[in-house]
Structure formats: structure tokens, C-alpha cells
């Protein structure tokens, strides 16, 4: 009896594992199939490097370079802002010896990660966009910079939690040895813990970057959504925002429809590449 149960259990878990693996492949295949159709009408190079997005014009143009650039641009801005804050925060957390304070801070980060992105978008509109309008005398504060700032807050928990884990481990491991040399804790954090966490920081950066690239709602709400070449204080439109905004109105099977799928496919390829990078850095 027990043995049959055992076998059944193994069989079930194998089936479920296969299902989730197959699901991933089906998603890739489905998106790829829907998107390859477009290359019958537009060549690959024109699609990736084209500067004009106007799929509904008499002579439709579907170039997504502005969206690709905007996607990278907001993500890079977000990482540039959140990385120093995140590393500082992770160092502080790793060296925090008050356990209650530490678990309090950790739970705050958890809550930060759990806030729905539409809420971040609202706060972004209310605070960041308004601030930029006043500060830089802009007609509209919706911009790559506001997208980057909102995203920076959203990816912060990811950077902190994965970096802090490594830092805390080495802090515990080397604390006494380091103290016994008469060295202060802040020197230890600077000269030992931080350099030793290089790999973890890189990993957390990649993780946060891929989160940022895929984020749709919050970015869409504060970025202005114009399919033009992005400038820091100008409007832009990311790939996820483009798809979310236009897929509802694109005619089934039209050029527009397939172009959006292809844009999604391009985004997915970037993310798969980033994930592969994530796994290789983790192994080192």
C-alpha cells in the first residue's frame, strides 16, 4: 500500500514538473508563431531599428526602436537610482544586531514589494510627476525620469533582499576575526563585506533590471506613452506599455496585432537572455 502511494506521488510530481516546463515552451512557441507572421510584410531590420510606429496609417510603419530604447532607458535609470540606496540598505541590514529592528525593516521591505503596481503608478503621478513639473518647469512631468524613479522604488526590495542575504552571511562569519584585529565595523563593511558581495550585487542588479523591464502598469501611468525616441525629461513608451495600451484596439490578425506580438517576443528574448545571465552569475 505504502509503496503504491509512493509511486503515485513520484508520478504526480513528475507530471506536474513536466507540465510547467511544457507551459513555458508553449508560451514561447505561441508568441513566436504569432510574431513571425509579421516578417512576411516587414523585414526584421526595419522592425527592430525602425523609428516610426504608426501601424494604422495608410502606409503602416511598425518600427519599435524607440520602445526598445525607452524600455532600457527607464530600467537603467531605475537601477542607477536604486542600486546605491539598495546596497547601503543591505549593508546596514547585514550589520544590524538588534533582531527586532532587523525583522521590522525586513517586513517593511516585504510590504514594499507587495504593493500593487497600480498604486505605485498613482503615487508616481501624484508625487514624482508633480515634482518634476515644478522643479524643471515642464509642461508635463510624465517622462523617462519619473518612470525611472517610480521603478527604482519598486525594485529596491529585490536589490536589498538578495544582496543583504550574502552580506549577512559573511558578516556573521568574519565579524569576530575582524574585530579581533582592532578594526572598526564600518571599515569591515567597506573593506571586507562590500567587496565580497560583488557577485551578489551583480546578481541582484540583473534580477532588478529584468523586473524593471517587464513592469507595465506603474511605468505606463507616469511615462507619457509617446512612441518617440526617449529623452530623460521627455516622454517615452516602453514595450510593455505599448502592448498593454494598444492590444485591445488592434484588429485580430492585422499587421498592428502581429506587430504587438512581435514586440512582446522581442521583450521576452531580452528577458530570457537576462535570466540566463542571472543564472551564470549565480554559479560563479
Amino acid at each position: 500500500m505504502n509503496q503504491t502511494l509512493e509511486k503515485l506521488f513520484i508520478l504526480l510530481s513528475t507530471i506536474f514538473t513536466v507540465i510547467s516546463a511544457v507551459l513555458l515552451f508553449l508560451v514561447i512557441i505561441f508568441i513566436a508563431k504569432e510574431s513571425m507572421l509579421i516578417f512576411q510584410e516587414v523585414n526584421f531590420f526595419d522592425f527592430i531599428c525602425g523609428l516610426t510606429w504608426n501601424p494604422l496609417a495608410g502606409e503602416p510603419r511598425v518600427g519599435i526602436l524607440p520602445m526598445i530604447l525607452a524600455t532600457f532607458y527607464v530600467s537603467i535609470v531605475a537601477i542607477l537610482i536604486s542600486l546605491p540606496i539598495g546596497i547601503g540598505c543591505a549593508l546596514e541590514l547585514a550589520a544590524l544586531e538588534n533582531e527586532r529592528l532587523k525583522s521590522f525593516c525586513t517586513s517593511i521591505l516585504g510590504v514594499l514589494a507587495g504593493i500593487p503596481s497600480v498604486i505605485y503608478g498613482l503615487i508616481g503621478l501624484l508625487v514624482v510627476v508633480k515634482f518634476l513639473e515644478k522643479k524643471f518647469m515642464l509642461a508635463a512631468g510624465e517622462s523617462i525620469l519619473s518612470g525611472g524613479i517610480v521603478l527604482a522604488v519598486m525594485v529596491l526590495p529585490y536589490i536589498v533582499s538578495s544582496a543583504a542575504e550574502t552580506m549577512e552571511k559573511s558578516y556573521v562569519q568574519y565579524k569576530e576575526t575582524s574585530l579581533a584585529l582592532g578594526v572598526s565595523k564600518s571599515y569591515m563593511l567597506r573593506a571586507l563585506i562590500l567587496p565580497n558581495a560583488k557577485g551578489a550585487i551583480l546578481t541582484s542588479m540583473i534580477l532588478a533590471f529584468s523586473r524593471a523591464m517587464g513592469e507595465t502598469m506603474a511605468v505606463m501611468m507616469v511615462i507619457g506613452n509617446s512612441p518617440i525616441l526617449p529623452k530623460l525629461l521627455g516622454k517615452g513608451e516602453t514595450i510593455p506599455a505599448l502592448i498593454a495600451l494598444e492590444i485591445g484596439t488592434a484588429g485580430l490578425g492585422s499587421l498592428h496585432y502581429h506587430a504587438l506580438f512581435t514586440a512582446g517576443f522581442v521583450l521576452m528574448i531580452f528577458l530570457i537572455f537576462l535570466n540566463a545571465l542571472f543564472y551564470t552569475t549565480q554559479k560563479v
Binding site: S170, E176, T177, A180
Partner: protein, 249 residues
């Protein structure tokens, strides 16, 4: 001044547990004191109290006095105290960085500047610990790649880099084989020409081989201390005799 370190009525408790009870002890300059006793008798705590590492633990309560060169250790700035009284741990603990950086780590903090100065000190300490010939061509190699014995000698060299006067050693050979133990023991004897050494050991033979004085601790109390020869030849206390005979441990 003959006595380098003096412990007066030193008691240490961690929470409700009394670890050391009214220990009085004088440690002479340039001598090796071996501290022996069964597990849990407070040997390691003794070392950690001398360089105030014990105070990192919130529950620790220390009473009594420790005089370093006639001055209470609480009157000496913590960084200076720990620089002057080095501690070598039971497990070799190389930092995850190059051999050179391991040795330069504390030196830079304590204000040694310039590559020439660093090089000079590092080379001298590696030579002193008999590690120089083995690693001189691999100074940029990760210290984690060294063997256990080499790692422990590196840990000792690292403690010596900041020019301590006293070196506390907590069972430095317990994770090493016979060959490496012999190397470290010879090193300790050599170091005692320039440093005062307190070594905690489980190994009675080791105490006998290298120590000038031996102190026996039991349940947090100093039972007996004498020069090593007399200590082993003619123990005074009944407990010491039993311990030396291996009746408990």
C-alpha cells in the same frame, strides 16, 4: 615590568551562567602560558574577555579588573587594545580575498600607508611564520585556496602584522594534522622571543612541550598554576591530578 597582563578577581557571566569565577592570574612578558581544562571550563571566554570581544555579546557581564601593562583595559581605546592583544581563533579564518590583502587589511586600517611599507611588513611577517617561501609567488592568490595549516599560519601572520604585544591563541592546532601542529608549535616557541603568548589547548602534551607556565581551569575557577615542569611533575590539587591522569576531561 615583569607582568604583562594581570587579572584581578575576574568574573564573567553570560545571562545566568557563570563562566569565570574570581580568576586571579599574572602573565609574564615573553612567556608562553598554556591554559588547560575540560570543555566548558571557561578557557575560551578567558581569552575573549582579555581583548574585550566578550562585550559584543549582549548578555555578558564582566566584573573584576584586567591590567595590561599596569593599566586597566577599559582605559585603553578599544582599537588600540585589540591591536596590542591579538587573537588567533581555533578555526583558521582567512578572509575571502588574496593572501596579500588578508595581511594588508588591518594594516591599512591602522594607518600604514604606501605599498613599500605594506610590502615590507607583510614580507617580514610571512617569513616569521615560515609561510613566505611557500606563497611568495602567489600573493595575489585567494587565501581560501591555501591548505588548512597554511591558512592557520596566515591567520597568525595577520594577527602579527599589526604588531601586537600579546598573542592569544584559542586551540590553534585543533583542526590540524600532526605535521602542521608541529610547525605551529615551533612557530609559537619562536614567537615567544618577541611576544607574550597565552594559548588555550586541549592537548596536555602540547602544553608540556611548549609552555613556560600552565594553568588549569575547572568550572570557571583557576585551580592551579605553576611553571610547566613543576605543574606536570608535581600537581598540588586533587582535581589537577585526576585531570592529568585522564580521569575526566
Amino acid at each position: 615590568m615583569k607582568d604583562h597582563l594581570i587579572l584581578k578577581d575576574l568574573s564573567v557571566a553570560l545571562g545566568d551562567a557563570e563562566i569565570l569565577r574570581k580568576v586571579n592570574l599574572a602573565i609574564s612578558r615573553y612567556k608562553i602560558l598554556a591554559v588547560i581544562g575540560p570543555s566548558g571550563c571557561g578557557k575560551t571566554t578567558l581569552l575573549r574577555t582579555i581583548n574585550r570581544l566578550i562585550e559584543e555579546e549582549k548578555q555578558a557581564r564582566v566584573s573584576g579588573e584586567i591590567l595590561f601593562k599596569g593599566k586597566s583595559i577599559h582605559q585603553i581605546p578599544l582599537a588600540k587594545l585589540r591591536k596590542d592583544i591579538g587573537l588567533v581563533f581555533q578555526q583558521p579564518t582567512p578572509f575571502p580575498m588574496s593572501i596579500y590583502d588578508n595581511l594588508a587589511y588591518a594594516l591599512k586600517y591602522h594607518g600604514v600607508r604606501g605599498k613599500d611599507n605594506l610590502d615590507k611588513i607583510i614580507e617580514a611577517k610571512l617569513k616569521l611564520c615560515g609561510l613566505y617561501e611557500e606563497v611568495k609567488d602567489h600573493l595575489t592568490m585567494s587565501a581560501l585556496k591555501l591548505s588548512g595549516g597554511q591558512q592557520q599560519r596566515l591567520s597568525i601572520a595577520r594577527s602579527l602584522c599589526v604588531e601586537p604585544e600579546v598573542l592569544l591563541m584559542d586551540e590553534p592546532c585543533s583542526s590540524l594534522d600532526i605535521h602542521n601542529t608541529k610547525i605551529i608549535e615551533d612557530l609559537i616557541v619562536k614567537l615567544s622571543e618577541q611576544y607574550t603568548i597565552v594559548i588555550v589547548t586541549h592537548n596536555l602534551q602540547q602544553a608540556r612541550r611548549i609552555a613556560d607556565y600552565t594553568a588549569f581551569f575547572l568550572e570557571g575557577k583557576l585551580m592551579e598554576m605553576n611553571n610547566t615542569e613543576a605543574f606536570f611533575a608535581n600537581p598540588q590539587e586533587e582535581e589537577t591530578k585526576q585531570y592529568l591522569q585522564g580521569l575526566f576531561g
